[in-house]
């Protein structure tokens, strides 16, 4: 499969799966409908079909027009304007096999749609199909160069491949005649980085809609200022690049999605970049480290953050619906100092539906001050919650309980036990007691599925499970996965669990407890 791409950064297809049919194709189809329906009113179809039987049998163009339009002629008939449609008659009456083959052909618009999905190398080769195909690839809206769409030749050295790749991008951009909706380049590195600067300059002039750059080796690519002049940019994905925002940056008015991975950027530039995108809906920051992140994005719906940050602050994200934040152990010194905790995080995202608090993020959120019984603003829309929690940590358990009390619509809860090697104090016993005091959970009735994985300690985790089965009236399933490294013999766990559950009050009559392998 040529287009499946290697990693998530390369594929020519990402962002395309599920994409609607290009609008121009549909408009074309509609136009056909109106013109042919006129033809129909004039009752010309009989003439056309008679024609194709005899004199026009040799005229390829005429036939293909007829074929392209035939389905739409029938569209008209189905509304009752004309009774019979000679489409299949046409097919049977043609005497030569040549015509029959031609009638088997697809409408040109469909062939174009198919060939538009081909990787660049195959697309270029379509110019050899026939004269009418000669220039078509030059208006393909998507240009993607990566090892799958532009594979190395057999026996080609790395250097030769890079040179051929550079030539290919050069040629493609030089010969391309239409606007480019998407440009992606993914390779290890290039011989001459100035080439990329020039390509980005061309793309910015052409009003490119989506740019993806991924260089997985060598020094991070220093992004040229041209990139920030692409005013029509709707999507930008950068991997291993060095971003320095020019003074003249006016913002990306149309940018909807921004993915940054292994990026080198200052906190101030990142803040300016994000706040320069007024309609940003999707933001991903992965494997980024070091800088402060302050997010001010009124339309942001999806946020994915992973890595090591000094400071992470959701300042203005009123419509955020899905957030996944996984921070590594060394992040967030400033988060503690800045007094940014669970309450602040949750009041910044009142509309949240899916939340993942991963890595050491919960440690940071629960580290400061007193944890309230409930959040000041309930998260009434939260349906899916995933937490990396250390069951042995009192503060984290308290924070989790506080969160659970505040989301009355929660349906699916997933907790991964996370052993923290840097934990300051062993508070396992106190943590266990948190779950014993199960008050204030009267609105816990939407919860249907709970999964607890990597369970390594018995006390607090089992207390939590008892808490769940006692509180969730409509629980269907509780899945428990053990950490095999620590609890290699699960018979002991089963025994303890059985004892505990037998004596435990259960709110749901139909709930099942499943021990995962």
């Amino acid at each position: 499969m040529l287009r499946e791409g290697g990693a998530e950064h390369s594929p020519a297809r990402s962002g395309k799966v599920g994409a609607p049919v290009p609008r121009n194709l549909l408009i074309r189809a509609e136009k056909k409908l109106t013109t042919t329906s006129q033809a129909y009113k004039d009752n010309n179809m009989r003439k056309i079909s008679a024609h194709s039987d005899s004199s026009l049998a040799g005229s390829a163009k005429y036939e293909s027009d007829l074929i392209t339009n035939a389905p739409n002629l029938i569209t008209v008939s189905k509304f009752g304007m004309v009774k019979s449609v000679p489409y299949h008659v046409n097919r049977c009456s043609s005497s030569t096999s040549e015509i029959r083959m031609d009638l088997d052909r697809l409408p040109n618009s469909v062939i174009e749609e198919i060939l538009g999905r081909l990787p660049i190398q195959d697309a270029v080769r379509t110019s050899l199909l026939s004269r009418s195909w000669r220039h078509r690839w030059q208006s393909t809206p998507r240009l993607a160069f990566n090892e799958t769409s532009f594979p190395p030749r057999l026996g080609e050295s790395d250097l030769e491949y890079k040179c051929r790749l550079a030539k290919a991008v050069d040629r493609a951009l030089l010969l391309h005649t239409s606007p480019i909706s998407e440009f992606r380049l993914s390779c290890t590195d290039l011989e001459n980085w100035v080439d990329v600067d020039v390509w980005l300059q061309v793309l910015s002039r052409k009003g490119v809609g989506s740019v993806g750059l991924c260089f997985c080796q060598g020094f991070p690519y220093k992004l040229p200022s041209y990139l920030f002049e692409c005013e029509l940019l709707g999507r930008m994905e950068l991997y291993s690049c060095d971003l320095k925002l020019p003074e003249t940056f006016k913002g990306f008015r149309h940018l909807v999605a921004l993915h940054l991975e292994r990026l080198i950027v200052s906190g101030a530039d990142l803040r300016r970049l994000i706040s320069g995108c007024p309609i940003l809906e999707e933001l991903q920051l992965s494997q980024c480290r070091g800088f402060d992140v302050t997010i001010c994005a009124p339309k942001l719906r999806k946020l994915t953050v992973g890595g090591c940050f000094m400071y992470l602050h959701l300042k203005h994200t009123p419509v955020l619906a899905a957030a996944s934040i996984c921070l590594s152990a060394l992040s967030g010194l400033h988060a503690v100092i800045g007094g940014y905790g669970l309450a602040e995080l949750c009041s910044a995202a009142p509309q949240i539906e899916n939340l993942v608090i991963g890595g050491h993020f919960l440690t940071l959120l629960s580290a400061i001050g007193h944890i309230p019984e409930r959040l000041p603003h309930a998260l009434s829309r939260l349906k899916n919650l995933t937490i990396d929690l250390n069951f042995e940590d009192l503060k984290e358990c308290e924070a989790t309980l506080c969160l659970l009390r505040s989301c009355c619509s929660l349906q699916i809860l997933k907790i991964n036990h996370q052993h923290r090697p840097y934990a300051l104090a062993d508070t396992g016993v106190e943590a266990e007691l948190v779950w014993e005091a199960r008050k204030g959970l009267d609105e816990f009735d939407k919860l249907t599925a709970v999964e607890i994985t990597r369970v390594a300690c018995l006390g607090s985790a089992i207390a939590f499970m008892r808490f769940v089965v006692a509180a969730a009236a409509n629980l269907v399933r509780l899945d428990v996965g053990l950490d095999k490294k620590v609890l290699d013999d699960d018979s002991k766990f089963k025994e303890v669990a059985k004892d505990l559950f037998m004596s435990c009050p259960r709110a749901s009559g139909q709930g099942r407890i499943v021990l995962l392998d």
Binding site: A19, A70, P71, I74, K78, L106, P107, D122, S127, L128
Partner: protein, 203 residues
């Protein structure tokens, strides 16, 4: 026609009960199980299929026809054969709630017609179904592509075009020509010159 190769037996099962005959054209759309509105599609070989209104909306052609008030009686689709239509109807059913046309449905929303519509991403099961759906030979795939083009169904077109693109990928120019039934009208000199010009794209 070989479109039935992939499983005519399974497609037959989709034909829900035969549509009630002899209704006057002014009657409201049929109500299927659970009081949902259904419309009846009639293939070129006179097979009738009941389709949930919500599923039929995945086709712009059908949607226009329904909006124009043609959804009351059986809707003739003379250039689709029974087996092809059966497959298409099943795809529509599996893709109910596909967010790809959520915006379009909202545009055409009238009188709470689509209040059941709940957008949901295609599950792994649906994706598996799609793969199975297009695992057919060239002729059958072309039938589906023509159906997609005629019905203007973006989801169907997407699935089938992807399959066709996968099929022609890595083919030589000659093989692609043959696959699509295209005629080479270059002179040998022209072809050689063009090949040289695009040398970087050939293995």
């Amino acid at each position: 026609m070989s479109s039935g190769d992939s499983g005519p037996s399974s497609s037959k099962q989709l034909v829900q009960q035969p549509a009630a005959a002899g209704r006057s054209p002014n009657q409201p759309p049929l109500l299927g199980a659970g009081g949902r509105k259904v419309i009846v599609l009639k293939s070129g070989d006179e097979e009738e299929f009941e389709v949930d209104l919500l599923d039929a909306m995945q086709s712009r052609t059908l949607r226009r026809a329904i909006e124009d008030g043609c959804g009351d009686g059986p809707m003739p689709l003379p250039n689709l054969t029974g087996p092809v239509l059966a497959k298409v109807v099943e795809l529509f059913r599996r893709h109910r709630g596909d967010p790809r046309w959520a915006d379009e449905l909202q545009e055409t929303e009238k009188e709470g017609m689509f209040k059941d519509y709940a957008p949901q991403k295609p599950t792994a099961e649906v994706k598996g179904f799609d793969r199975e759906f297009v695992s057919v030979d060239r002729d059958a795939l072309f039938d589906l592509l023509r159906a997609a083009n005629f019905l203007e169904a973006p989801g169907l077109l997407d699935v089938t075009c992807d399959a066709a693109a996968d099929a022609v990928m890595n083919m030589t120019v000659e093989e692609v020509r043959e696959y699509f039934g295209l005629v080479n009208d270059y002179t040998p000199e022209e072809e050689a010159a063009l090949r040289k010009q695009h040398e970087w794209a050939f293995q």
